[in-house]
Amino acid sequence: MYTQALDSPGPELASAVPAAEAERERRFQERIDRDEKIEPKDWMPEAYRQTLIRQIAQHAHSEIVGMLPEGNWITRAPSLRRKAVLVAKVQDEGGHGMYLYSAAETLGVSRGELIGQLLAGRAKYSSIFNYPTLTWADIGAIGWLVDGAAIMNQIPLCRCSYGPYARAMVRICKEESFHQRQGYEIMLTLARSGTRAQREMAQDALNRWWWPSLMMFGPSDTDSVHTAQSMRWRIKRFTNDELRQKFIDATVPQARFLGLSIPDADLRWDEATQHYATGPIDWSEFQAVLKGEGPCNRERMGARRAAHESGQWVREAAAAYADKQRARPASGRSGYAQAS
């Protein structure tokens, strides 16, 4: 990803008349319509830039906060294999946060600002991470459902019009498919070869994660404020409801294979549409969790702030060490090779 430090000089002309601005926007939209990628130093409408900063930052924050519910189970994973896998998955989420922060920075916002907004509680992140992970089956359900929903959302973003975001998403999608598979494998073990208690634990996890997973796709199309413009700009390729439906259609048979039931009495196959029809989603729950009233909002932010504060001395020490190294004569420095 390129970053804002690469931006070439050349401030916009302050005297630009609205007509010239409209002409630029028209040419920008034509580029989008031709499926050209927009790169960091290209001209873009301010609203496009702000929309992307908001979306990519929320996405990055979600990756970072997303490490917490699963990190909770690293020390209690039932085997060394499960533990190694979980550590690798959580480390991937951290890496995905880094790719995304870098992509957001290409739009002219600093890493410090973004992290500051998260820690100050002014930034949004995915509502799903404000639910607790009560049992080991929750780790299976998160991989299967939460990562499954995330992948459904993210695959079309690989073709997003903004180059750095699209490239970050390609990398993330490649890495994420193991996340969903390891989750489903946990569910398989519990539900198909487990004891009765383990089967019940798997069903209980599905019961608690199903509806919040459907909410991950965001509000229904009729209530989504950003969808139309984002689709015109080809930031989004499908609407929230279209992606949610795809996820439901893919997931219901997977639940059936596990021998588990989806907690929705209205769920049925609709022969006419060739899709599963579901009962209504409780959007008041979604709104409440977004507003900070979910079961774990405060706990998640508390953990994030504590991690940031307890890392303060490390950041200070690294900066002091770098200063000291710079102050030394060049011959005294070592530790890395020249490019070759």
């Binding site: 990803m1 390129y2 970053t3 430090a5 690469l6 070439s8 050349g10 790169e39 130093k41 290209d42 001209w43 690798a88 480390q91 991937d92 890496g95 880094m98 790719y99 870098s102 920075e105 600093s110 890493r111 410090g112 600002e113 992290i115 500051g116 490239r167 970050a168 990398r171 890495e175 950041r315 690294a318 900066a319 060490y321 770098a322 190294q325 710079r326 530790g335 890395y336 490019a339």
Partner: protein, 94 residues
Amino acid sequence: MNEDWALYEVFIRARSGLEHKHVGSLHAADARMALEHARDTYTRRQEGVSIWVVRSSDIVASDPGEAESLFEPARDKVYRHPTFYTIPEDVKNI
């Protein structure tokens, strides 16, 4: 909030015989930390055998607004491509 550490661009050689390719960027306090973070951030699945890190501020980039005039001189020089030349079919190995 502290000021951000310097930004580095990361280039990775996937295996010997290939060139280093830009893969992304990261913040680090110094070059050595940049290399270590690049290892953790961009090569968790054996994506490389060699890493370069370069301070982003040391990269000089062309301006996309001037791309037209910058690359225009090459546009009318089709004679730089082999297909520009017609060779009789009877002539072989050329």
